[in-house]
């Protein structure tokens, strides 16, 4: 499931481009000693602006990350020896449907759980 995500703002990108253009123009018209002191300072700022623009551009162009399809698994449990067996969910599975026999003790097995298999998530540490 895709979540609610904020998209990079196109307006912000345009503003940054304008700032970059201003920097380049200011460097040319005012002369380095008037506004920035040295031409290298102006080049440095222009370079930073360019990097920012490129970063935003790539973020804007990037496709949202594909949502990994979660695998729904069915957990079968032996009534006698409690051995568990996990397989993919099949339509018609429900808790506590009896299904098959335990490979170990031949006891009846039933569906104990059906859940999406999720990769372990790193929980953000809360300050409160």
């Amino acid at each position: 499931m895709a979540g609610y995500r904020a998209r990079p703002n196109l307006g912000l990108l345009i503003i940054l481009i304008l700032i970059f253009l201003f920097m380049v123009m200011a460097g040319n018209f005012f002369g380095q000693e008037e506004l920035f002191g040295e031409r290298s300072a102006s080049t440095f700022l222009g370079f930073i602006g360019l990097i920012l623009i490129l970063l935003l551009f790539f973020k804007l162009m990037a496709q949202p990350p594909a949502v990994p399809k979660t695998r729904i698994v069915t957990v079968l449990k032996c009534e006698k020896c409690n051995v568990k067996n996990i397989r993919d969910f099949k339509q018609g599975d429900y808790i506590p449907k009896q299904e098959g026999k335990c490979p170990g003790c031949e006891g009846p097995m039933y569906i104990e759980a059906i859940y999406p298999e999720e990769p372990p998530r790193k929980k953000p540490k809360l300050k409160f």
């Binding site: 008037e34 729904i72 759980a113």
Partner: protein, 365 residues
């Protein structure tokens, strides 16, 4: 500073003041335009979710129900159905009126689903009804957001657009939750809201169960020397049943006199809380529009039966998405909590009612 420098300074100063003045007069309009654009983007997303749900409903109805005619038109009509709440100027007796309307709605929905999916069995029928209800909710969300967006634009009512924009993240969260539920409803997988029925199912394992009232079942078990009556909605089809009516029937019609009633339900967690955490308290743990809670409170009050509640915490999204492993673990902890309550609040040979509340999709008895 040279001559060129002076000219540019003047130009930039004029541009700066022009910007300040423009923002002073048109700031609100600029803000409104930004908000409107944001709402539009989310509205497109809502439309996509609504259409996806509709298509999925049509596909599943065709697959399972095997109707002779194309069910699309009937499904479209279903997605526009509504319920008019009873008038509340004189609130006395409103619960029964609302309860009656909900019964009519439920029967009417089941009848419609049966007509559009004539070959579906009872379990699939209940799952299909849940799926169509989720699609109906997504359609309703889309229509309401579009209504306020267009009204805000047409009337230039700043306050409508502002309120809609501010509440939009919550609305989108809800819409994504319904979107996530579609798969579970279509395939009949247990959902987070099924925590209560799952606990009841664990208690009823291997016991005989009897049907009682509308879509409810109950069975007898024993726990630490106490007789317990376990109540849940009839599964494994998507169903919440009418626990209030069933409890009334057990006490008023069948004549059971429990020492306590313990209700187990999934409940919305607060932000920052862990999914699957368990809490207990006092009262009727049941969601919904309130009629079932009213019935349960009435019967408990009339017979002076203490009502205890055990909840398994989860978010709205988790409540209607496939049940997560953390919730299964939470159900096991809730079972221990129920046992502790029974041990502490009752004596041996007492009768206890345990009601597992929630949608029993994917969970039989």
């Amino acid at each position: 500073m040279g001559e060129g420098g002076n000219i540019w300074t003047v130009i930039f100063q004029v541009a700066f003041f022009a910007f300040i003045i423009a923002y002073f007069f048109y700031g609100q309009r600029i803000q409104l335009a930004i908000w409107n654009r944001d709402i539009e983007r989310n509205l497109r997303r809502l439309k996509f979710l609504r259409d996806k749900a509709r298509e999925k409903a049509v596909k599943v109805v065709k697959e399972i129900g095997k109707p002779e005619e194309d069910p699309t038109q009937r499904i479209d009509q279903f997605l526009e159905t509504f319920l008019i709440q009873p008038v509340d100027m004189d609130p006395a007796g409103i619960v029964w009126k609302l309860d009656h309307l909900l019964d009519v709605r439920d029967l009417s929905m089941k009848d419609t689903v049966r007509r559009i999916a004539p070959k579906a069995d009872e379990t699939s029928l209940n799952n299909l009804e849940n799926l169509l209800e989720a699609a109906l909710d997504l359609n309703q969300i889309y229509r309401v957001v579009r209504h306020y967006y267009l009204m805000g634009r047409r009337t230039n009512a700043y306050i409508i657009t502002a309120q809609l924009h501010m509440i939009l993240p919550l609305i989108m969260d809800m819409a994504y939750a319904y979107d996530g539920a579609l798969g579970a409803f279509a395939e009949g997988q247990p959902i987070g809201d099924g925590a209560g029925p799952l606990l009841a199912c664990k208690l009823l394992a291997g016991r005989e169960v009897k049907k009682i009232e509308k879509d409810m079942v109950y069975g007898e078990a024993e726990l630490d020397g106490r007789r317990i009556l376990v109540l849940k909605a009839e599964g494994p089809g998507g169903n919440v049943g009418k626990p209030g009516e069933a409890l009334e029937a057990l006490i008023n019609t069948y004549g059971y006199r429990p020492s306590i009633i313990v209700m187990v339900d999934a409940a919305l967690k607060f932000e920052g809380e862990e999914t699957g955490d368990v809490s207990d308290g006092v009262g009727a743990a049941i969601g919904g529009i309130g009629t079932e809670r009213f019935r349960i409170e009435e019967v408990a009050h009339k017979h002076k039966i203490p009502l205890y509640a055990v909840i398994i915490k989860e978010s709205l999204k988790e409540a209607i998405a496939p049940m997560r492993k953390e919730i299964y673990e939470g159900v096991n902890r809730a079972l221990e909590r129920v046992k502790r309550i029974i041990r502490e609040k009752t004596k041996e040979n007492d009768l206890v009612v345990i009601a597992g509340i929630g949608n029993t999709i994917g969970i039989a008895q």
